[in-house]
């Protein structure tokens, strides 16, 4: 029993080490707090918002006031409520798309890298093919073919974003496969599944996690772009992109800043802070980083 707790303590130590190294990046820490704050707001939006985001009222296009913190839009919906709901949707789309694309990428990358041969050739040529299309065009065409909507957007982004992860994992697996500890496992007669999932996979988690953060940020941007173009999340459901869509008219753009500045700022802040966190994570997660030895 004592030994097990010993081991658990050691595990905690390595996590504590990662946290310690992460904390060195002040911007990333601030970004993380911001993300957590926004995520909590977004998740608990239904409990927080003062109005139903789709409830029209007679106060059209009101500037921010004590009653409507971020004003109202042309049909009298409360912009603060809409912003929180939009953030909720955008975060969800980004997260779900990232999970899908990362899983696909990791599985295909592992197979291609470890088994090589025909599997490798086929998977990597498909990867190259997808990567050779202009990304946003591919997404747009896919969105046009399938009906635009929340789940379709998630699936489209998820199925278009995986090649990067697949390449990353494949490259990692190729170098890990040549490492002595994998050879040692082969010499020890360990089965492929052990080598793949117990020796190789844990060593790719770090880079994949870092890559996933950037995919997360990109997915949020893509969802915004698609919704802005009308191919994404459909009104009346609010998303950061289709709120910006309302700023297409010059009068809104110049005269009614409260209708689009908060959504635009939210996108910028989300993407920047996710990227900061990803950067710090990359530095923190490397177990052999020597600097913290002191």
């Amino acid at each position: 029993m004592k030994k097990i707790s010993d081991s658990a303590e050691k595990k905690n130590n390595s996590i504590r080490m990662i946290i310690k190294r992460f904390k060195r990046h002040k911007l990333a820490v601030a970004s993380l707090y911001f993300l957590i704050f926004i995520t909590i707001l977004a998740v608990f939006a239904p409990l927080i918002v003062p109005y139903d985001p789709n409830q029209v009222s007679t106060s059209f296009s009101q500037p921010p006031s004590a009653k409507h913190w971020l004003g109202t839009d042309q049909i009298g919906r409360d912009m603060f409520s809409r912003l929180l709901y939009a953030t909720r949707i955008s975060l969800f789309v980004g997260f779900a798309a990232t999970v899908i694309s990362t899983i696909i990428g990791v599985v295909l990358g592992l197979v291609a890298g470890y088994f090589g041969g025909i599997a490798d050739t086929v998977i990597m040529r498909i990867t190259d093919t997808i990567m050779s299309f202009p990304y946003i065009l591919l997404v747009l065409v896919a969105a046009a073919i399938f009906e635009p909507g929340l789940w379709n957007i998630i699936l489209i982004l998820g199925f278009v974003d995986w090649p990067g992860a697949a390449r990353l994992v494949r490259g990692n697996v190729l170098s890990l496969r040549e490492s002595n500890f994998v050879k040692g496992s082969i010499v020890a007669g360990m089965p492929s599944r052990h080598i793949l999932f117990s020796e190789i996979l844990p060593n790719t988690v770090g880079p994949v996690l870092v890559y996933a953060t950037s995919v997360f940020a990109i997915s949020i941007l893509d969802e915004a772009a698609l919704s802005f173009l009308g191919m994404g999340v459909q009104p009346p459901q609010a998303s950061l992109g289709n709120i910006l869509n309302g700023a297409e008219s010059i009068t809104v753009l110049t005269g009614k800043l409260w209708l689009w500045v908060p959504a635009g700022l939210m996108i910028i802040l989300l993407v920047i802070s996710i990227n900061f966190v990803g950067d710090a994570l990359r530095d923190a997660i490397d177990p052999s980083a020597k600097e913290d030895r002191i």
Binding site: S7, G184, S185, V187, A188, G189, M190, P191, P202, N203
Partner: protein, 351 residues
């Protein structure tokens, strides 16, 4: 083969009497070619002749040193012996069974007998795993140790390689190079192997640690009746640990003999050059007559015809460029074999 037999030749110099015993491992006509990368088109793809016809016998309880410069194929031979790769042709017999063409499922059971210690101790341990996990996984998979005894077994292994038990929950990067190599040895020992191929196990360590590891390997050999194949490019370590030494050049064995015999009476010009190239701590010998090799080791993609060494050999004759030399005993019945008919003939004349 019983224990008294193997005891007889676990010490230097006592090996000669045991030539009649069946070898533990027989390497027969081993060849390993690697395709040159980047060549997609073309019918005759160039290949690297990493190992080009090696015959070896390894006896139970001995340490066979394999020496040669970088790229001579010594590590490749080691990898074939532990069945990490399949040879291009030839075969390797372990206790009479051909392990180089065995199906994977059958090979898996034999693998526990043949383990390897790697040169780069950093990359030979999974950086994401604690020593405990590294050592436990193979034993649990092969069920050589019961789950409830695994703690004791790991303590025993760490004790065996001279590491404190408390270190088992550390990660590899928390150790020094020498300690990591000890863990690498413990990992190799965990499956109770009969043969350990040590692929330059001390080359990456500094001299004082080298000595510790070599002594550890020697002690373990006596204690556990291990057979070593010790691959190195430094003569000092090999001389210290080996009963027999094989000298390799460009994928071939050019000379093989008992350690003492080889160092006292090297015959092959390459062996001599190798010995002459290593510095001696004796100032008076500074001006000794030495064979100094000129030029580079030829390309392994198109090795020279005839004797591989003729392009750099000071004794080369016309015949060397065409006749492929065989490994022949220096004297009839001797275990000292050389692949140099020119110097063999000379030596006979002197006698």
């Amino acid at each position: 083969m019983n224990n008294t037999d193997s005891k007889k030749f676990s010490f230097n110099g006592k090996f000669q009497e045991n030539q009649h015993i069946n070898p533990l491992i027989i390497v027969e006509g081993l060849k390993k070619f690697y395709p040159v990368k980047g060549q997609v088109l073309g019918r005759n793809k160039p290949v690297i002749h990493a190992v080009d016809g090696v015959d070896l016998e390894i006896y139970e309880g001995e340490t066979l040193g394999i020496v040669g410069e970088s790229g001579c194929g010594k590590s490749t031979v080691g990898r074939q012996i532990v069945a990490l790769e399949r040879p291009t042709s030839g075969r390797i017999l372990y206790r009479g069974e051909d392990i180089s063409h065995m199906p994977v499922s059958k090979l898996r059971k034999i693998r526990t007998d043949l383990q390897m210690v790697f040169q780069d101790s950093t990359s030979s341990l999974n950086p994401r795993k604690q020593v405990y996990e590294i050592l436990a996984a193979p034993m649990l998979y092969h069920k050589t140790v019961k789950k409830e005894n695994i703690d004791n077994e790991i303590d025993r292994l760490l004790d065996l390689v001279g590491l404190p038990k408390a270190m088992k929950y550390r990660y590899p990067h928390e150790f020094s190079g020498g300690q990591r190599q000890r863990i690498g040895i413990a990992k190799a020992l965990s499956l109770n192997p009969k043969v350990i191929v040590c692929d330059e196990p001390v080359s990456a360590l500094d001299v004082s640690v080298q000595a510790q590891i070599l002594n550890l390997l020697k002690e373990l050999q006596e204690e556990l009746k291990l057979t070593y194949v010790f691959i190195a490019h430094g003569l000092g370590a090999v001389r210290y640990i080996s009963n027999r030494i094989a000298i390799m050049y460009l994928g071939r064995i050019v000379e093989i003999a008992d350690t003492k015999e080889l160092f006292e009476n090297p015959v092959h010009p390459y062996t001599k050059a190798l010995f002459d190239a290593s510095p001696l701590p004796v100032p008076t010998l500074r001006d000794r007559k030495r064979i100094i090799l000129k030029g580079e080791i030829p390309s392994a993609i198109s090795p020279p015809q005839g004797c591989r060494f003729h392009t750099r050999c000071p004794y080369a004759l016309e015949s060397c460029t065409t006749n492929d030399p065989m490994l022949l005993p220096v004297k009839p019945g001797s275990s000292h074999k050389v692949a140099c008919p020119v110097l063999l003939a000379k030596g006979e004349n002197h006698d």
